[in-house]
Symmetry: D2
Subunit: 348 residues, 4 copies
């Protein structure tokens, strides 16, 4: 049994994470660190955990972590996480961090978008970006995995086959002409009550926000550039739709060198995607007329992807549950890889 | 043209009120009093009013109210409203108050439930409870109308025919055995962001709250007792359902003196309701198999009512839009009555 | 491993059932019987099962069921189910039937409400009603378990402690004065497209339906009468609320013999409920100020219950996921009991 | 008073249309033609019209239309509408047609996408496309106005300033590189119960559909080409989001001849939009940080538009109520223009 802890256990993603871990056949939760007075049971913080997990929370301090803990999930907000991550690494446990603090290899980009100085550049260097479909080998040996953002997960998985060098891709897209129009459920906005999370403001409403100015844009660009081996820039427009969970990213890319390519069949593009994800347990490429629906992935660790061609454009539609494959499920998948457990354990 | 003002213009009900008043053929909005710095246009507070009403807000002070104003709507919270209402009455305008501050003839009940001393008992005495279907004649001559709560409006209109003395009712219900199970949309909780108005807490969820302990219970009891000429006590259980607007009250009452009454036809009860509301423009008694749906009244000033008999019980189902007939629409209806305008003006 | 089949595998409950069975550590799905041409994979019928279960469907015929099957779940509609259940019993497997066909010991009541003659009275006699919290011992030895309706599950679990003889209940309620006001999500209406399941008819709407005329009323009355050892009649009003899943039943009962009982503390009632469900893994009695919310039980096999006293009335609020504890989860719980598996296996 | 009729009065848009017409100060509804037996009152078809409009329906035949009718709205489905429109024109009334039958000047495009032969090419030639903001002068004198599709209305209004010749636009976009990612509420799918309009299929779900293959794409292309005076081709991807009403189109266009244009300020683009719609009562250009929200336009005839620049891309966000500005409200606006009534009458 892998002995795990959760540090900062009061976000929506923490609740999802705990629910996944409780059902995981090879995991035991031994530690819950929170910033609450009086060591409450986790079921007092989340009543839906009554009769599921009655463990008492303790502080967010490695000293309060039981001996023999193998790994902690840090679910603290960005800029706070990097105050705690080094202390747990120091204490000898592996760490999966949910924040953005270890996602940017170039700390300048992080500092520009998160408006703070990075205080743990030593560990930043060795952090591995946690999309197993792309970086499995590095994750396997990592001490510190940086769990990806929700939008980036859906966008990167949707685009990787078209920019990737892993298989001998016979297609090319224009790397500076990529548009990502993403639609997210409201849990993506976090658990804090604000005007823009008020039921009556979100319900029966669709809106765009942070168009061209969302922190996940540079994250997507960095990782895709890494995959492509070449600089990529995107136009990213996130939208809020009235549902609890789920992200659907509609991605518009332009095939290049395809002038002679009117003859190229649609099946050639499908082959690229089918081949790229052939052995992946959590990516499903929709065949034929089917298109992905968020309701088919909500509650699961799947990423469903479909591809269409419209004129010169390839349109990729990629969807996930933002709280599972976009957060807690992917974290469990990373944990499985890091700890030598079957990668799908606890997730199907 | 009736010249009106709105004092405290930033609640959900204020926005609805303004939208109704702007379309009202016999009304001119001349004054918006708010507690905001810098005299913003109302369309800066509510962007949905752009190109509809660009009037600048001023302070909540009768001196800032233009000469010739006929009536103001006070949409301030309870306990605050009674600080302002007397000043506007003093200034010579009629007032329709949206708060609970003038709803209780017995100030002891008010003080018990709202936990403050009443500071304007002089005006409290002359305040008229604003359900035109029941108190039209008093409203006609009132200087101060207390606009009813949303739950009370739906419950009282549903029960009045069974307890009322207006028509020669051939039926009697047990006055101390009335159950009101009410279901409300989330706008009933107000515009303030709180955990219990967070989208992800309300969406895909039904819950009861304040069972037997909601402030609208004594309000319903007082008004129904007045209508019945006898003390009435109720069991009131409000519920929150995931929609923006609408209240549906399911009311369970017990017919008495009906022992011999198995022979009494259902049509007799229908006659009571049909007769009671025969000439009312805003109450629709559903005939035959039809049952009320909140979606049929949302956006309107209607109260839709159906009646069923189940064993010894009469079940009355009554529904309204909590922001219209349960607040702003009823206020406009009251204004029409108070100012000698056609009662349905601006409402159909 | 328990080898199971699902007969009639295309309802919403079937999909939920299959998802539960796939994750169940002690179960293997060996047979899916449907009325579809051409032996499709179940993942062609439910795309969300891709990469989860790719088993091919066969016909609804015991001959097509693999040797060694232990138990089948029959998820066919009422009146159809009783054509198939006897054939599978005959073939020597245990059966859990989801329809109403084996719920009524008095076939006259069944025939009145379902408007057909019962064609399998032999097996009807031995069928056990499948609420393990009340009938565990009988379920243990049953060949045929009749899985309860969704409304009945929530209502019966909420009322059993007040009418039950299992513990020495110091309280009594009036058995012919029980009101059940239930609120259900739309999946309760089934998967067939009809006007009343159209998104725009259900969304932003609450309505009552079948007031005093729903088939689940006699089911609740029969089972509660069995538990009480005395005839019980109820007033049942179901409502449709805009959400996918979940039922919340608000139950109004009247304490009798409590005249001297103003002195009786609320804690006495709580003791009755706490004691009644002390060892039940799937019933959670809410303590203190907490009230149940459907969102806390959706996706789980829990029934959450709270109790309040309002005047002479006890108000019990009971909620479940209609597709899990109200259907597929309870079926799995029954299977566990019938097959000697840990009762909570596959459900937490 | 303008005397109007509605032919084919049972769609969602018909109900909205009737509600608008009833409130219109200069209109009288004199005729409702439907394909129902027995001349029902319209309030029997739409119960929400009780006490609002009790007019009896008659047949869809010009002979059943009262003398003196000025104009009929035809709300029949495509391919059916063109069987009735010529008969009403023949009878001497003006017609506003809601279907696609008169939207395509090039009947070949219509026949390709709607898969029927056009049977009324005579009237097709004189039909005017009914977006008053672009074609007001032609609408003024038209006998037959073709009311636009919902997606086209939002997309065309969002793009017209960037392709239009009306004002001396100092900006140019690439006319063959326009992407329209549109998000629509479910009422856009019509009132017929189908699997894809089932509540549980739409709720808590976002999906794309008909990507690159939606009938509104050629409609958008035709009208924008007319406005631009040059051929335009688009990539159009519609999405379904879980709400009743509203469309938000996010449009990605590429500025050309802007190489030197890094110096060009954002305000220059804003000026183009502000100038283009300066005197339009129903288009609101969002200034500063504000972005459009469908909830701000639902129930109104407004189109709210915002503009952003992201790299080389101009991103235009345009939203409307699909049933009002995208259908019935725009039809009333067209009627006002055609009949010499104040253009905003009945719409604010």
């Amino acid at each position: 049994m892998v002995k795990v802890g959760v540090v900062g256990a009061t976000a929506y993603t923490s609740l999802e994470l705990i629910k996944l871990l409780v059902k995981h056949p090879a995991v035991e939760i031994v530690y819950l660190g929170v910033r609450k007075e009086g060591n409450p049971r986790i079921s007092e913080i989340f009543p839906s955990l009554q009769k599921i997990l009655e463990l008492r929370c303790t502080g967010m301090n490695p000293e309060e972590m039981p001996k023999g803990t193998d790994l902690v999930f840090v679910t603290l907000p960005p800029t706070i996480a990097m105050q705690y991550v080094p202390r747990f690494l120091q204490a000898g446990v592996k760490v999966i961090d949910f924040s953005a603090d270890y996602r940017f290899q170039d700390k300048g980009i992080y500092e520009k978008w998160y408006k703070v100085s990075h205080t743990d550049t030593a560990n930043l260097k060795e952090a591995v970006y946690g999309i197993p479909e792309l970086f499995r080998d590095n994750i396997k040996n990592a001490r510190l995995v940086s769990n990806p953002g929700c939008y980036p997960t859906s966008a990167i998985l949707g685009l990787a086959p078209l920019v990737g060098a892993r298989c001998n891709v016979p297609l090319h897209i224009n790397l500076d002409d990529i548009i990502i129009d993403a639609k997210s459920g409201v849990s993506g906005r976090g658990r804090e009550p604000r005007e823009d999370t008020h039921y009556c403001e979100c319900n029966e409403n669709v809106e765009a926000y942070n168009v061209g100015a969302h922190r996940h844009a540079p994250e997507i660009e960095q990782i895709l550039s890494m995959v492509a081996g070449s600089n990529i820039s995107i136009c990213f427009a996130p939208h809020l739709v009235p549902m609890n969970r789920g992200i659907l990213s509609t991605i518009y890319a332009k095939l290049v060198g395809r002038g002679d390519a009117a003859s190229r069949p649609y099946s050639e593009i499908m082959d690229v995607f089918n081949e790229f994800y052939r052995n992946e347990p959590f990516v499903r490429i929709k065949q034929g007329d089917e298109l992905p629906k968020t309701k088919d992935v909500v509650g699961t660790n799947f990423c469903d992807i479909a591809v269409r061609v419209v004129g010169e454009r390839v349109v990729v539609i990629s969807c996930i549950d933002n709280l599972i494959k976009g957060a807690s499920g992917q974290a469990v998948q990373n944990m499985n890889v890091m700890c030598g457990v079957e990668e799908t354990a606890g997730l199907v």
